[in-house]
Symmetry: D2
Subunit: 244 residues, 4 copies
């Protein structure tokens, strides 16, 4: 654990894998981390682990599609310490033939993966702008750049989130806020991905075949550390053996 | 006017400029055209003009954000003649600093420029697929490819619409449906654009400085005529003098 | 055949398929066409066919990598009639593992597919600029946008050609010259492509599985016809069933 | 200085700014660094500085457009210690109207900025592949992604280099070689850039208005440290206030 800083980091979408790893990384870096996810009680083990290691973390139930909930979540972070980092990490990967993509699915996926990212980014910027500093990072995917067959809903939301990131980066960079978009172009090593690959008949996994959440978290950390004369807005990330 | 065909074309977003010109072009090509826009009564002069020239056109009030309204609009086209063409042409160009982009604006722009495009595309595909033929075209803009400062809402919707177009093209091309996305990377010659440029101090306009809606309509027509061994999914369009 | 115009078109790379079809199309459109290729004598049947149909065409041996040869070829076109169209259509599709890509291959592929395109474009522009009109079109490929494994030489040349096209379009558009780049993202129906697919075990071909050269030529023609208020710089082209 | 490693790094294009900073960074990381540039004698102060700090560096005169010279340069690195890193950093930024872009300029810029990158990448891969590890990084620029007016030669070379990087990454990633392409989308803080900006009338420079070469070098270093389950192929880099 690094020395505690008088600064907070908010993780919107602190799931079991990427979001959890990001939470760990910023806590290890000395930040007071607020982790938010749908079922906040699931965060208890993560919070306990971080606190046991001497870090600061609190877990929160958060429906990121609610403007008031986002505002309150970030205000809570700001009360802990000045908000310096906000990571948006909610996905909603679904695949349906276009005729089977209901308007409800299309709308829900957008609300989760794009609209709530806009809310989180905007409200984080509102807190950071008066201080002229801060980092806002959005998690992207292959579908952020390519609308594959069956991905109308998911790719549409991810394309839309990427536009939010770009637009915010162009407006806020000159005001001292670093906005980045990270394209994870591969399967991440999660229980869900392993299960889906097993369903497709894959029996074994090679070392480094899937992206380790901790590696992603380290990349977020490095982005945050970049000095402001050399900021990255977008980068891709994939395991060495990935076809692309 | 070409000889009438036993085929209909639907224009979702038949405004005074691009949408109107597309309506004219497909009517001239022998299609029974259904033109839809927010205030259907404004379509009366266009319908009269087309009918006077011997073409077929009907004007409809359409709130394209309503699933039922889209379904009914396209069913109406199908009743006139088998639906062969659907053009989605609703924009919602707004510019706000990120902190002033309300959740209401963000949502409305998306509903108009992305969600309703998804609905129109999906329902047109539903009618076309059993016949294994048809053309679906989406109107894009500079903001489909670039999230400029102040364009978080508009670019997010336009990026999202582009993803829908790509995803549909990849799924439906092999099934005989041509899905295209046209990026208009310039000001179109409309009263609104001229007014905005005058506000910025521009007094006079050179010939061909702005895109003529009829030229755009001709491009849609040419896309529709492409044989299925050589389909274009995406193309850009700008006046010769445009900076880009 | 359209009425003869007092205008010439030059096709650099008038091979048996795409280049030949372009030659036919512009001759049919009333242009005096100069067709150039490595072995000019192979153009005799094409010239005879066009002349028999009442068109104007001459075939020339052309090494497009030689500056003087390009200058002389275009001067010859200009002597026939003012040069209004120049199409660059030389490819050099090779695939080698990177370690087996000799410097000679890398250089030759670049000279054929990129450097000679620069020469042709620049010299065509030199003739067209005083009149403030003309169309210059470059033929691209999937490899213009994606550096696939084994395609270091070919993709490098095609990326490079695309940059030349973009740079020329931005400089010359305001001066009345239309510069376009057409991305053919698929196999074209040539003897060579059919042979390679047979080698991979494909026995039969569906209708419209491959792009018909005449369809490509028609697209070039339509690009040339675009009015200058609505020019396309780049478009893709693929058969309806293509995976992409 | 980190503990010396039994590994070497080669910098092709070790100029006064970016290349020099990269040389410093990898020497500080414990690598035996071979720095190559046109006039090797200019490297004496850099070598002295690194050695005084306890690092290992040797300076070499290198014409990177000569295959034999590249082979010998990398062999020299390999003799020092197994080659683990190769950075290609030669630019050739020129701007000419298309009609004034001589074939000599077009060819020279390509030889310097693209062809020599291919040679360096290929030969580094040849040494690294038997060990199944290594990092090869290419320096890109705004012109790697955009062919601006007047940049036909430079953008063509930079696009071409980007294709080489992509193609190598796709082939060599699965074999354990990390190939990356870094897009520097801004002016770098060099004497030349400051001079050009002064010519355009800029009197003073804000802090962090230009990219610091040391920041770029740190990014190369971080790319090299990425674990192989999470490699970045491409990222951009610009100062916070840059317009893009």
């Amino acid at each position: 654990m690094d020395t505690p800083r008088n600064a907070s980091a908010a993780v919107v979408g602190a799931g079991d894998f990427i979001g959890g790893a990001i939470t760990r990384r910023f806590a290890a870096g000395g930040y007071a981390v607020l982790a938010g996810r749908r079922n906040g009680e699931k965060l208890a083990p993560l919070v306990a682990e971080i606190e046991a290691a001497g870090g600061r973390c609190s877990g929160h139930t958060l429906d990121a599609r609610k403007e008031e909930a986002i505002i309150e979540f970030l205000a809570e972070a700001e009360r802990a310490a000045p908000l310096e980092v906000c990571v948006f990490n909610i996905g909603a990967n679904v695949n349906f033939p276009i005729l089977d993509t209901t308007e409800r699915v299309f709308r829900k996926v957008w609300e989760m993966a794009c609209y709530s990212g806009f809310l989180a980014g905007r409200e984080a910027a509102r807190l950071m702008l008066p201080r002229g500093r801060g980092t806002i990072i959005f998690t992207g995917a292959t579908a952020s750049l390519r609308g594959g067959s069956g991905y109308a809903a998911f790719a549409s939301a991810k394309f839309g989130l990427r536009a939010v990131a770009q637009s915010m980066a162009r407006e806020l960079g000159p005001k001292g806020i670093h906005v980045a978009h990270l394209v994870i172009d591969a399967g991440v090593d999660t229980a869900w991905v392993r299960e889906r690959r097993r369903e497709r008949g894959q029996d074994s996994f090679e070392a480094d075949e899937l992206v380790n959440p901790a590696s992603i978290a380290e990349t977020y950390w490095q982005l945050h550390l970049q000095p402001r004369d050399a900021w990255t807005h977008e980068l891709d990330l994939r395991p060495h053996g990935e076809k692309w």
